[in-house]
Structure formats: structure tokens, C-alpha cells
Assembly symmetry: C2
Homo-oligomer: 160 residues x 2
């Protein structure tokens, strides 16, 4: 699994990547200006502040799934952060005040390495299967596992 | 794949469930009052209106991942809706005005059958790996694939 642990970090006794309870199909990829050799924004807010947009290129056959989406609509993009280890259950991020459980963090290092961001649709090409989005904080070519419309009735906490 | 198509519905030429680009590990299960034989709420708002709470029971080893979460905090629960077909790319829901792409809908019938709801933490037992939540619209024993803190900076559309 590679990298060494920081003080306070804990791992599971097994690798969640080796427990295949179900399979995921990549529906496409993110295209972004970011990569291992760029200064990559640490979160979607910082990505947005760069003014750099991005897009999602769907794999063949998935374009018709965009029918009914509209430019300007908020979208939840779920992507697969395949580069990190999956067995960290307590982490010690540099920004935090001590160790923190993986489920209390948005770290991409988690049992199922899915990240999600809420973005705005800036363009839609159903035939080509391409969605322009206002920003993303993921590396170019990160696999996408789902896109869904953001709905206040489902996605806002009840006390907001 | 079972059920018949409604007018206007389209399927992919392949089954996404047979394209295993990555594997998912179930981190636990939802415990809820709902099942195939109950009147199950159609969405989280209706589930909340019933006044029935629910909980997430984590699988062995995952409880330490709760460290740092707090009662009252909003949480995004991602769960695996394993009962539906995965090859529907255009759907004709009864509530909609004609066919709609799967990615424009929150339907559980999608290439990767993940649903997500934003809920409130009502209790936490890190040792037992149990999280009480205010409501959920999923059947009892639905597998859970991720839980994350809801963060306004990531999960609110930029224009809110």
C-alpha cells in the first residue's frame, strides 16, 4: 500500500480493496488542468477560485443519460480516487488538530475511494457525451462513477 | 435484469454490472423500518416526515473511522441499491413529463446503483460502530458504501 503512517494513524486489519462486495463501472473521466506535476487545488472552492473550468467525458453509450439536464443546473459528480490506499481508518491530516476517523474526513484515502463535489453545468453535448462544469479539484483523467442532479430536498441538511 | 421497459425507456448495449473497473467493499448496513412489505417513503423528506429514525451498523473494524464526528452534525450516507437493473440509460418515471436520462434523475436504477442522502447524526457509538440518524428512505439492511461529513463549502452549489 506504499506510504508510511503518520503518528496516530491506524489501519484496518484487512485491505477493503480486496473485499469485492460489488463492482463499479467507470462511466467516463474528468478532464481538468490538474495533475501530479501541477499545483492542484486542495478543494472545490480553491479550484473554483482559479477560474479554470473542466469537463466530464462520458464513455461510449452513456450520452443519452444526460437527457433532461440543463446548463446552469447543479450536479453532484462522484469520482474514484484510485491512487490512494484504502485501509486507513484513522488519519492525521496536517490541517487537523490530532487524529481523526476517516468517516469524519473528506480525505480521498478511504475504504471506497469516492469523492464528490457539487458543480454547475456550463455546457452539455448529449451526442458527444460531454458535460462542461465550472470547476473540479481532481486530476485530469480521474474516473467518474456517477453524476446526479443536486436537489435541495435531498442534499441539504434538514436544519438549513 | 427482469422488469419490462416503459414506453420511451432505453437500455445500454451492455450491462454495467459486468464491467468491473473497480470493486466496492460494503462498510456496513442501514437498519430502517422499511422493507418490500412496508409502505416505504419515496424520498428522504417523506422518510423524515414519518418521524421514524434509523441507524447505520458498521462492519467489524470500521468503528474507529467515526472518531471526530459529533451528534447533530450532517452526514452524507452513500448506499448501494443492489436490487435494480443497471442498464437503463433513459427512464420514464411515473412522476415525470416524458422520458428522462438516468443522470438527470435520482433513480436507484443507474450504472452504479449508488444513492445518497444527507442526514443528521442523532447518536454515535464508536465502540459498537453504530450511528443513529434522523431518517432514511432505504430498505432495512441496504449496504452502505461510504459516510462523509456534509460540508457547505463542498456540497452547496456555488450560487447558494
Amino acid at each position: 500500500m506504499g506510504d508510511t503512517l503518520r503518528p496516530g494513524e491506524q489501519t484496518l486489519a484487512f485491505d477493503p480493496g480486496a473485499r469485492a462486495d460489488a463492482s463499479v463501472c467507470f462511466i467516463g473521466h474528468i478532464r481538468s488542468p490538474w495533475g501530479p506535476d501541477t499545483e492542484t487545488p486542495k478543494n472545490i472552492g480553491k479550484a473554483r477560485a482559479t477560474g479554470q473550468d473542466a469537463r466530464i467525458e462520458l464513455a461510449d453509450g452513456f450520452g443519452d443519460g444526460l437527457l433532461g439536464l440543463k446548463v446552469g443546473q447543479p450536479l453532484i459528480v462522484t469520482y474514484w480516487m484510485h491512487l490512494g490506499r484504502r485501509d486507513l481508518i484513522v488519519q492525521a491530516p496536517r490541517h487537523a488538530d490530532g487524529p481523526c476517523g476517516t468517516f469524519a474526513l473528506r480525505s480521498p484515502r478511504r475504504p471506497n475511494p469516492m469523492a464528490m463535489s457539487t458543480v454547475l453545468i456550463t455546457s452539455l453535448d448529449q451526442g458527444a457525451g460531454v458535460i462542461g462544469i465550472d470547476a473540479i479539484d481532481a486530476f485530469d483523467r480521474t474516473p467518474v462513477v456517477d453524476i446526479k442532479p443536486w436537489l435541495g430536498t435531498v442534499d441539504l441538511p434538514p436544519n438549513r
